[in-house]
Amino acid sequence: MTKFSLAVHGGAGTILKSNLTPELEERYHAGLRSALQAGHDTLQAGGSAVDAVTAAVCVLEDEPLFNAGRGAVFTSDGKQEMDAAIMDGATRAAGAVGGIFGPRNPVRAARAVMEKTDHVMLIGPNALAVARGAGLPFGDADYFFTQSRWDALQSTLKMRETGREDTDPARRHG
């Protein structure tokens, strides 16, 4: 048996220490720990690597602090479009979804594409149909809305209106 291991990420970029209070920093650490624990518990119980990464990413998607699922940012049109992907190293099976809104856990929609279709990537209505067919829970606009992401959108749109060049790499990051 191989000794199992797992890693997670919750995004990268310019991190403004002035905005990152000790309380908020601890929330980020707690969110990451929860994801690690979910993945570790899965592996400890004999689950597969695919099960473990699914479990870990679902926790991060459920946490509004992170830019995925419930914490997703807004497009310039004030809507949310989410992307997700999963790949199984044992078989090279892969599934991905792009530009979707609805499934609470887009990674599970990607996994449904991998496991229930002959395709690697689906977008639009058919991606959502696969997610519905898999019985995945959906959320409405209220579920996915967070004030901080909305405020970030307004800030970015205002910056564009004033013609200021946006060189902050954090704004180009997922």
């Binding site: 199992f4 990420h9 310019t14 592996l43 990464v53 997703a72 530009g99």
Partner: protein, 134 residues
């Protein structure tokens, strides 16, 4: 962008990534996350990778697949290959960001070329470690 990579007790590896994209992105813009080989990749023979950062650059340099290629063709270790892609291929071409990767021996690496990256890892012993800055 969030993601996870894992190596299970049977030596099988996997990667998953999920994102809302970037703030005020154009409707219909797709970043690297769902592009297999750019932001997400897994192959037991080499590595499993999940990326986060400037997605367009990750796509142009097929970042995740490039790490696997370096391991397969150049014989580099997981850490060497990932470090080269993040610190040279991406960093030298405005590709700010980072990634997490694991191989089938359970080795983990988490390089990034920006100020910080929310990340963490856990071993079989259950030792959880989380980080934000360098």
């Amino acid at each position: 962008t969030v993601g996870a990579v894992a190596c299970d007790g049977y030596g099988n590896i996997a990667a998953a990534t999920s994102t809302g994209g970037m703030t005020a992105k154009s409707p219909g813009r797709i970043g690297d996350t769902p592009i297999i080989g750019a932001g997400t990749f897994a192959d037991n023979a080499t590595c499993a990778v999940s990326g986060t950062g400037h997605g367009e650059v990750f796509i142009r340099y097929t970042a995740a697949a490039e790490i696997a290629a370096r391991m397969r063709h150049a014989g580099q270790s997981l850490a060497q290959a990932a470090d080269h892609v993040v610190m040279q291929d991406l960093a030298l071409h405005d590709g700010s960001g980072g990634l997490i990767a694991v191989d089938a021996q359970g080795n983990v690496t988490m390089p990034f070329n920006c100020e910080g990256m929310y990340r963490g890892k856990v071993t079989e012993a259950g030792d959880l470690e989380t980080f934000i800055y360098r």
